[in-house]
């Protein structure tokens, strides 16, 4: 609205990307408006529900609070970047097999956060699962099935 937009360059789901962003624009808005990526989505607008989860240089951020300008020269991954063509990521497969979603609005956020969890803790304890996923809310209350999906995904990702 106020200050002038400036260009940012970054990697988006493995491909180079650039766009003009105004200082007030959030990463979730920019990814939706300029790149038609609707996996990250704003819900609570306070960084409390996790629906807008985006990976920035490997760290999960709330895209509704993260200013797009900060993404300059970063590596960005959204849920759209997980599958390899038609082959789903093991975490995505696990969420389907465990029936770990209902309305699906929060699902991209949970899936991205699960990939973070399993990167850091390939065999997560119950407490680690709850710790990593405590910033993602599911109003359909599908948590038991999500925990099952995380365990299933850990098995799928286990080497050998």
């Amino acid at each position: 609205m106020s200050a002038a937009p400036r260009p940012i360059h970054f990697t988006l789901n493995g491909a180079t990307a650039e766009c003009m962003v105004a200082p007030h624009e959030t990463l979730v808005d920019v990814l939706r408006d300029r790149f038609a990526l609707y996996g990250p989505r704003e819900s609570c607008g306070q960084g409390l529900c996790g629906c807008c989860t985006i990976l920035v240089d490997g760290a999960a951020v709330s895209g509704c609070l993260y200013l797009a300008a900060f993404a300059d020269s970063a590596g960005i991954i959204t849920v759209e970047g997980l599958a390899d063509g038609d082959a789903l990521h093991p975490v995505q497969e696990a969420f389907i097999e465990a029936g770990a979603f209902q309305c699906g609005f929060c699902t991209p956020g949970f899936i991205l956060m699960t990939t973070r969890l399993l990167d850091a803790h390939p065999e997560p304890s119950d407490d680690q699962i709850r710790h990593y996923l405590s910033g993602n809310l599911c109003r359909c209350g599908t948590y038991p099935q999500i925990i099952e999906a995380v365990r299933l995904a850990a098995k799928k990702l286990k080497p050998g």
Binding site: M1, H24, R32, L37, Y38, G39, P40, R41, S43, C44, G45, Q46, L48, C49, C51, T78, V79, E80, L82, A83, L88, Q92, F95, I96, E97, G99, F101, Q102, C103, G104, F105, C106, T107, P108, I111, I129, R130, L133, S134, N136, L137, C138, R139, C140, G141, T142, Y143, P144, Q145, I146, I147, E148
Partner: protein, 769 residues
């Protein structure tokens, strides 16, 4: 952690019923590509941002929009009087035509839409909306439902029933009241029963106003032209929205198109007109597509769950038979009726609970107050009522020194017995549900009751709910020349899995695999009428319509086969029959089916009816809790939800609905409350209004069904979306009582509430809140 125990039911020949098929849209949801109206934008679209009332009740003296209009990037500013130029009578609502599209002359709650800014950039619209200033003359207001019953601060000058429901017509033109509807039931001889009672118990229970908080906030995009109107909406009720928009515009239904996609949750928040009428009016004024997309905060000012007060009184014999029960339920409906009058009436039917009681008096009231509007939330009032009557039931058992389960068994209403309305219970497994809850929670078995400052207890509860009747569903199935089938129906998939379950029903009826059935998303241009996706009605009503449509398809296919000389009972592929008829891959067979259950409206004087509902839903919960007696903190260790779902079409999804409902109700039980000061909502956001997260999960949470069959349902099925909400709150309160001997009578059961009750029981004085 979660143990799937949903009964597969009797195997059907097609093998499609009782199949735990993953959701047909699963892949779209895990890749972020599932369609939500939230994601939709149209070429040339304007964004609308709403300026809301800052006072709970007042006359509008003037609205100054000049600063907003002067802002760069603002397309226009719209107030209530502008709406009148395109919609002369802009009042809407499913039960009462009482809600203006934008406030006209008066505001009735703090947060009511007063003006709208349109702009191409939503951020500009939002900033400009802040610049609108409104001059109000404040009026006396009423917030509490008990006060509303007698207050002379009237929210509306007169009642304006919509005419959609025949049994509300008598209320037209009624003045000087905040009671939108009273439902009254009288059965038996109350005076004698209470006079002859060995014991009389009376308690009052309350629940606060709460909110659905679907993670996809309400949104609607309208594109209005002289040819008609298209509305893309996150609605649970496309057909009902079409009927209402057509009425407001004076257009035939076929000029109004309402379509939706997957919903990011609904839970009753998105039934009937919400943002659609505003979007349509704005599009007519701007002559461009307009998107109204609410924030999470704004949803709190759009629709909510009724706060309530329930006074319940029972006459009981010394050996533990309940002989009479008086129920006075007062719902806090907020400023506009929405579907609240139906909530008051339908829940009123079973306010006395799943018990065989000869003498019953029920008075269930919907009141107007100067709060945000309340409507339907996953149970149509029933969770508020079960909370009260199952807490009451436990208190009676404890006072009489009876085992709470044995006391319930002794009084339980069972299949074949008349319920309070006089309607006989049929295909309703109350006994099996109660037994199974007890088994799963280990009722009667010794357990670790804790020690020192950590105490454990167990509690159970059971509820019964009537379905929403009379309502209609229509379905169409088209079979293409290659034999593939497409199902057209207006049922909205908001996460409950209807797309998958209805595909399974269609597939079973057609003798094909569910994966081969394509289900078209609701779009009133192509999908036939359906009253709405609400009240756990779709599996039963739409399922029956789908079955009927499939039967018609099969009949036409058989006729076509006969016509082309194919012998009956052939296993010739469908494609070959088409080829014989049309000489090539061509043609379509269309079958349609509709379903409307029998229903008898309750007698106005007695509230009795021989047919209150096409089916009953019954569900029970068992809870084991741990209470920290130093802090009042409650931890739910185990929670089990058991339901009669008839035959489960998709057992996995039924189980997920039951555990999901338990989680949602856990929030309504332990943390969620819309907090007001002088009519101003203090916590319309997730920082201050806490919904359950993964850390709030019980150590163990199970959902399961009992072996049951709804003979009138499709393949024996009935609805289940709401059933898992019934027993959770009272089961937890009863478990807390079991653990530490104190009774909480008001939700939410916060640590502070338990702490205060513990201190009071110990005789300590604490400062007031």
């Amino acid at each position: 952690m979660s143990e799937a125990k949903v009964m597969p039911g009797q195997a059907m020949p097609g093998g499609q019923i009782g199949r735990s098929l993953p959701r047909v849209e699963a892949r779209a949801k895990v890749t972020g590509r599932a369609e939500y109206i939230h994601n939709l934008r149209l070429p040339g679209m304007l964004w609308a941002k709403i300026a809301r009332s800052t006072v709970p009740h007042g006359c509008i003296r003037g609205i100054d929009t000049s600063a907003a209009k002067a802002m760069s990037g603002v397309h226009s500013v719209v107030i209530g009087e502008d709406i009148l130029t395109v919609i002369p009578d802009p009042y809407f609502g499913p039960a009462f035509h009482d809600q203006p599209i934008l406030a006209l002359g008066k505001v009735r709650f703090a947060g009511e839409p007063v003006a709208v800014v349109l702009a191409e950039d939503p951020k500009i619209a939002e900033a400009a909306a802040q610049e609108i200033s409104v001059d109000y003359e404040e009026l006396p207001a009423v917030y509490d439902e008990i006060e509303a019953m007698t207050s002379t601060a009237y929210v509306h000058d007169e009642l304006k029933p919509a005419g959609m429901f025949a049994d509300l017509k008598h209320l037209a033109g009624k003045r000087d009241t905040n009671i939108a509807l009273g439902y009254h039931l009288r059965r038996g001889d109350m005076d004698t029963a209470f006079a002859e009672a060995d014991h009389v118990f009376e308690h009052t229970f309350r629940t606060p106003q709460q909110m659905h908080t679907p993670l996809e906030p309400h949104c609607a995009i309208a594109d209005a032209t002289s040819a008609g109107v298209t509305v893309h909406s996150s609605t649970q009720t496309p057909s009902s929205v079409r009927v209402e928009i057509a009425r407001l515009l004076g257009l035939p239904e076929n000029r109004v198109r309402v379509r939706t996609a997957f919903l990011g949750g609904g839970f009753g928040a998105k039934v009937y007109v919400k943002m659609e009428a505003l979007a349509v009016a704005l599009s007519l004024l701007a002559r461009r597509p307009v998107k109204v997309a609410l924030t999470m905060e704004e949803q709190f000012f759009t629709i909510s769950k009724h706060g309530s007060t329930f006074r319940i009184k029972s006459a009981v014999t010394k050996d533990g038979r309940i002989t009479a029960r008086t129920c006075e339920v007062i719902y806090n409906g907020g400023a506009y009726a929405d579907i609240g009058p139906r909530v008051a009436q339908k829940s009123g039917f079973s306010a006395a609970g799943p018990y065989d009681i000869a003498n019953v008096a029920i008075d269930s009231y919907e009141t107007y107050t100067n709060r945000p509007t309340a409507g339907a939330l996953r149970g149509f009032g029933m969770p508020q009522l079960v909370w009260a009557y199952e807490s009451h039931t436990d208190l009676i058992a404890r006072a009489l020194g009876l085992d709470p389960v044995e006391f319930r068994r002794k009084n339980l209403l069972r299949d074949g017995q008349p319920q309070a309305t006089g309607t006989v219970l049929k295909d309703t497994a109350t006994g099996a549900v109660l037994d199974r809850v007890c088994e799963r929670i280990g009722w009667g078995r010794a357990f670790d009751r804790g020690s020192g400052t950590t105490r454990r207890g167990r509690g159970i509860a059971i509820g019964l709910k009537a379905s929403i009747a009379p309502t209609t569903s229509v379905a169409t199935i088209a079979v293409a020349a290659d034999g593939s089938a497409t199902l057209y129906c207006g049922t909205v998939d908001m996460g409950q899995g209807s797309t998958t379950a209805l595909a399974q029903i269609a597939a079973e009826a057609l003798g094909i695999d569910a994966e081969a059935v394509r289900v078209v998303a609701p779009d009133t241009d192509v999908t036939p009428y359906d009253m709405g996706t609400l009240g756990s009605r779709s599996t039963f009503h739409m399922g029956n319509a789908v079955r009927a449509a499939a039967d018609e398809v099969k009949g036409k296919l058989a006729a076509m086969a006969a016509e082309t000389g194919v012998p009956a009972g052939t296993n010739l592929p469908i494609a070959e029959i088409f080829r014989r008829k049309y000489g090539m891959q061509a043609g379509t067979i269309v079958g349609s089916g509709s379903f409307v259950p029998d229903y008898v409206s309750p007698d106005h004087a007695t509230g009795l009816t021989p047919n209150a509902t096409p089916y009953w839903m019954t569900g029970g919960s068992g809870a084991e809790v741990e209470v920290d007696t130093e802090t009042g903190q409650v931890r739910v260790l185990r929670l089990v939800n058991v339901a009669d779902a008839g035959v489960a079409i998709n057992p996995r999804m039924v189980e997920t609905q039951l555990t999901g409902a338990a989680v949602m109700q856990l929030g309504f039980t332990l943390s969620e409350e819309m907090v007001f000061t002088d009519g101003q909502l203090r916590n319309p956001n997730f920082a201050d209004y806490k919904i359950p997260g993964i850390r709030d999960m019980p150590d163990r949470l199970d959902g399961e069904t009992v072996a049951a069959r709804q003979e009138s349902g499709p393949y024996g099925a009935k609805g289940v979306g709401e059933t898992g909400t019934f027993g959770v709150s009272p089961a937890i309160a009863n478990a807390i009582h079991d653990a530490v001997g104190v009774r909480i009578t008001e939700l939410p059961i916060t640590a502070e509430a338990v702490y205060r009750a513990l201190r009071q029981a110990a005789g300590d004085k604490l400062p007031e809140e």
